[in-house]
Symmetry: C2
Subunit: 338 residues, 2 copies
Amino acid sequence: MIEFSKQKLSVLIEKINSAQNIAVITHTNPDGDTVGASLSIYKILLNMGKKVSVISPDTLPEFLECLPNVEAILTYETQKNDVKSILQNADLVFCMDFNASHRVGILTHQLDKVTAFKILIDHHLMPDENFFDLIFSFDESSSTSELLFHLLRESDLLKYFDSDIATCIYVGIMTDTGSFSFACNRKEVFETVARLVELGDINLKKIHDNIYNSFSESRLRFLGFCINEKLVVLHEYHAAYIWVSMEEMERFNVSEGDLEGVVNYALSIKGIVIAALLKERKNIIKMSFRSKDEFSVNSFAKENFDGGGHINAAGGKSSLTMQDTIEKLVSLLKGLNL
Amino acid sequence: MIEFSKQKLSVLIEKINSAQNIAVITHTNPDGDTVGASLSIYKILLNMGKKVSVISPDTLPEFLECLPNVEAILTYETQKNDVKSILQNADLVFCMDFNASHRVGILTHQLDKVTAFKILIDHHLMPDENFFDLIFSFDESSSTSELLFHLLRESDLLKYFDSDIATCIYVGIMTDTGSFSFACNRKEVFETVARLVELGDINLKKIHDNIYNSFSESRLRFLGFCINEKLVVLHEYHAAYIWVSMEEMERFNVSEGDLEGVVNYALSIKGIVIAALLKERKNIIKMSFRSKDEFSVNSFAKENFDGGGHINAAGGKSSLTMQDTIEKLVSLLKGLNL
């Protein structure tokens, strides 16, 4: 049960009321939750008559371009001076869906210089308490977007709610739970969606189609190639992996973002408990891990591949060659005795 | 808003109370909703102390074998005499998730002979009012399983609810909405899931993994083959199709059930509004259609391929050769001017 202290809620309202220039910031490699939550608080503040800007460190993935008011987002990567000046003039900054300033990537240095009051709304573990001035952080929440909805309700800001906001919060919850397949085992997640449908007059199928059914043809064919021809299944170790070379990605004309979700297919085989995707980059192999049940790929990635993440989803890297990385991985999988 | 007449609810309770032998029947080619709803009413009746059997016309797909109490299901295909004798002795029959007796396939003749009181619980259009004695039919419901939950609540039967039932109802809702991607644009769908989580103590991720992440390796590789090598994209008509031959299915060692969901990949391409899957069978081509937005594949299939279904999902057939069926399809797609 997510509960907010009355004192914190009144500071939140007080800071919003007195602010002249508000900035809202997403994390680096922006996903559906950070962008959904940022555009939601942006629109609430706009509906309250505030002056507000939204900033993303880098370019949004194409599938998020369907979000309402996405055109308002300033990208530091391409609009450095505009973003710098907004941050310099801001007297209130909302940090959405990240727990420390380095999570804004190339924008870190600028954010570190900000003297404005900084409010964190987030669901990751261990927020940096020295950096943020007011923290709303609940790791049991499915997503920052869900958390924001509870916060809006408890701080009596739902009177500024509209259909755009319902869409953005829905996208945040949907994408951070893999379309309600994980991290949603609380009744509040579904009660929130019920309220979004009730208040927001939103078209869930259209939103789903916009986010998930907007593959490029080359991305889809590459997915097919990966799962038919590049998948290695080690039934005896309850493990499966897919490896892709730079040459293959060039041949199919796909970028690294197009590999999103591919590792889940390796995990979708009956009896497979751990799955890995190995992506060749210049001088490094990037790795994604997924698991079922109680097996922690967070520990596995941390101990063996200089990475980490969550219990069922983590990342890592290797500076060995692809062939040597595969050999190391297979030998580790063998040793797991799954 | 789904509402039940008090009179119907009291007939329901009266019939259950007086019944000595109850049979529950799924439709042919059983899916998650018909099986989930059937096993739910089965367990409720069992918890009420009733004598009850569950019957499926044919064998369940493997991914449903994880459902609690699935071992109680009798299959007419392999247990003809047992099923006949149960139907002869039954004084009350629940028909779950189908609107007419022919929807039980090879069991139709036996069901037509049944003289017991027949209660329909279903969400398909136009139930056969002459066949069933008491009808609870609401096509706005996401699934028969969701409808059953409302019915249990309104008829004060939730006191017999348990975790098995929560799991089965959840599977019905999840599978009939494509993991909350369509047919779920009502707050009641999500309110129901919230109640299942609250009352049922269920593990949603585990259920999701059991249903969706239990592909056979050959099924997964065949999916990859279909979307990489058998997909034809007609960007100019906003259409895409996949066709598969019997030889290919034999080569990959997959059955028709393994093609479930393949057509959705053709629809997942940006800009594609209609997608088709063409499956070769002896002397006939079976077809699945999917669409986005307002384009009705129900009408398209009805007018051109002797089929029908829902607005965004329908089936059809063709007695032409594969090549001629493809030519007919492409010429129709061209004429749509999408």
